[in-house]
């Protein structure tokens, strides 16, 4: 006869196993990397953020001597800051929308259709990114000069549009490729036509990754300076240009720091919100992970 009394109840055994599993060895290497990363990435951010609220901060002190919102008041009361912000938002939104309208259908075609010259065309799209960017901008600027696009809203929109192609084609192509064909077939099977399948199945399935592409494009375009500078000046002054001007003109760190925090916080919050909505894997998927 088996002696049942010597066996622990099944629940106890499970609890024991859990306890053992929880005492996993600490991954010291990973920990070290994490600290290193934090120092390299977070420290400058923190220092800059502190600067934005520091009115007096002289060298050996670890913390500012005097903190306050003085520089904030001064910066945010300036008309040109608000004008630049509004302009930047308009340009960035326009670029992102147009880019999505052009690139998403193209990405779908690349992902799903097999037409002659498909690979060549795809390479052509991506190769824009392979050129030295500054050379490309200069060349474009010369063309725009003859077209009277220099210093105009649409001139900046057009040049920035070129810069978005990589992410807005590449990520969506893998987004669409990542949608299981069986899901689409199952929809056809219960009676949906090809268009309906696209709207009801393919698009929603790809949406998290497409949203990631849109977000990356929006943020990248917002902070883009090279092209905006060369094509936009003197009339079109976007937010980052104003920032640079601030830093160059006034030799006080605080102006730049205030704008930095002012612009960084919203985009960081946007990023966080996006992660919550889309799940972390949408980014990974989009980049072929």
């Amino acid at each position: 006869m088996t002696d049942l009394a010597t066996l622990p109840p099944s629940g106890a055994l499970q609890a024991q196993q859990k306890r053992v599993r929880r005492r996993a060895p600490v991954d010291w290497t990973g920990f070290a990397f994490l600290i290193g990363l934090a120092v390299v990435i977070l420290l400058p951010l923190v220092v800059t953020a502190v600067w934005a609220f520091a009115e007096v901060w002289r060298f050996p002190a670890i913390l500012p001597q005097r903190v306050g919102l003085g520089y904030w008041q001064e910066t945010l009361s300036r008309q040109d800051v608000w004008q630049a912000l509004w302009l930047s938002l308009r340009i960035t939104t326009t670029v992102t929308v147009i880019s999505a309208v052009i690139c998403f259908p193209a990405a779908y075609a690349f992902a799903r259709l097999d037409f002659p010259g498909r690979n060549m065309l795809f390479l052509a799209f991506l190769s824009v990114q392979a050129f030295p960017k500054f050379g490309l901008i200069i060349a474009t600027a010369t063309i725009f000069l003859t077209l009277n696009l220099i210093g105009t809203f649409w001139g900046v929109v057009l040049i920035q549009l070129v810069g978005t192609l990589l992410y807005m084609i590449w990520i969506p192509v893998s987004a669409f490729q990542g949608v299981d064909r069986r899901l689409e077939e199952a929809a056809r099977d219960v009676g949906a036509g090809p268009m309906r399948v696209f709207w009801s199945i393919t698009l929603p399935q790809a949406l998290p990754t497409l949203a990631a592409a849109i977000l990356i494009t929006f943020v990248n375009t917002f902070y883009e300076t090279d092209a905006a500078w060369l094509i936009g000046l003197p009339n079109v002054r976007t937010m980052p240009m104003v920032m640079i001007a601030f830093i160059n003109n006034a030799l006080e760190v605080q102006y730049g720091a205030v704008l930095f925090v002012f612009l960084w916080v919203p985009s960081f919050l946007l990023m966080l919100a996006a992660r919550r909505v889309m799940g972390a894997d949408a980014f990974a998927k989009g980049l072929g992970g």
């Binding site: 199952a186 099977d189 219960v190 949906a192 309906r196 929603p204």
Partner: protein, 357 residues
């Protein structure tokens, strides 16, 4: 409700011929299993019926209407995919209701029909869940419900339960059979498991290398395989290479009466062999005993080392290394280009009379 007629169907993918020379009629209300090893063309055939592939040759008719060129959404078929293919961005209710919404049914009716089909597959109350919140078996039930709710004339199932564990698989396949009978729907069920095919089919279509090997009722296919492939594929079978000459087939040191001449294959089921006292030309060496609980299989070797499996009952005791005699009660001979010939010896004398354990 619906009959499917395939005439002269062939399908090639580039240079690969996935299917060739298929003529098949699936009758109204019948459950037909497509059975064959992996790569034999089962899925291709099912996808042709569902409209996901177009045949390279031949026509498909449903209830006498040619549907060869119709896309899936215009065919009265519904498919359950192996990967369940549920839409992860919709709830269970949303998945099932999708096909009904496309048909612009009133909301109340949609709700009622979804409830009813959820009840049918045993998932009442699960409508608000997301597919990711269900177990593998439940997901397949939802996929089945999604196909059934649009009331197709023909239900197509492509190895629907292959990824589930055996108990669940057996339960679900019985449920599918049950539902199919209750609704009186025509069904085509793809499987590579012969047990599954034998358990639920009205008829089985055995495929190999894109060709139809045999069509028949489960018992018929088991008892009277038409090709050596079917003989070896369905059920346990000893397949021996042999030579026909002088009214005998000689294979691996075993000699049995058979007509014809030239090379041939000898097929003997383990249950058609009985152990007996040693006798010249009918001797094997016992290698080991495999106890299946309900019966025992003796793995043995013939004079030239060829394996031979013998099914016997548990009362019989033989030792590894022991030489025993065998008596073959039924055997089938497959010769190239000829109909199989079946033989039986009716001179059965029970081994148990001689050596009772």
């Amino acid at each position: 409700m619906a009959q499917v007629r395939l005439s002269g169907i062939a399908k090639a993918f580039g240079k690969v011929t996935a299917l060739d020379a298929m003529d098949l009629v699936i009758e109204d209300g019948e459950l037909v299993c497509l059975l064959g090893p992996s790569g034999s063309g089962k899925s291709t055939l099912l996808r042709l019926i569902g409209g996901f592939e177009t045949p390279s040759e031949g026509t498909i008719a449903i209830d006498g209407v040619d549907v060869t060129r119709l896309p899936p959404e215009r065919r009265p078929t519904a498919m359950v995919f192996q990967s369940h293919a549920l839409w992860s961005h919709m709830t269970v209710h949303g998945n099932i209701a999708f096909g009904l919404k496309l048909r612009r049914l009133p909301r109340a009716e949609i709700r009622e029909r979804v409830e009813r089909v959820l009840d049918l597959v045993g998932l009442s109350g699960y409508g608000a869940r997301l597919p990711s919140q269900l177990s593998g078996g439940q997901q397949q039930r939802v996929a089945l419900a999604r196909s059934l709710v649009i009331e197709p004339k023909i239900l197509l199932l492509d190895e629907p339960f292959a990824s589930l564990d055996q108990h669940l698989r057996e339960r679900l396949r019985d449920e599918v059979r049950d539902i199919q009978q209750r609704l009186g729907i025509t069904a085509v069920f793809v499987t590579h498991g012969q047990d599954e095919a034998l358990a639920i089919s009205d008829r089985i279509v055995v495929l190999a290398d894109g060709r139809m090997q045999q069509v028949g009722r489960p018992g018929e296919i088991y008892a009277e395989p038409k090709t050596a492939f079917v003989a070896g594929f369905i059920g346990a079978m000893n397949m021996l290479d042999g030579t026909l000459a002088d009214g005998e087939i000689a294979a691996g040191g075993l000699k049995l009466p058979a007509e014809g001449s030239g090379p041939a294959r000898l097929a003997i089921r383990p249950e058609d062999i009985a152990l007996s006292e040693p006798e010249e030309g009918r001797m094997v060496t016992v290698r080991r005993m495999i106890d299946f609980g309900s019966h025992v299989v003796v793995d043995s070797t013939l004079a030239d080392g060829t394996h031979l499996r013998v099914q016997t009952d548990k009362a019989v005791r033989v030792e590894a290394g022991e030489r025993v005699g065998i008596r073959v009660e039924r055997w089938t001979v497959f010769a190239e280009g000829e109909e199989p010939r079946r033989y039986r010896s009716d001179t059965v004398r029970s081994f148990r009379d001689v050596r009772y354990a």
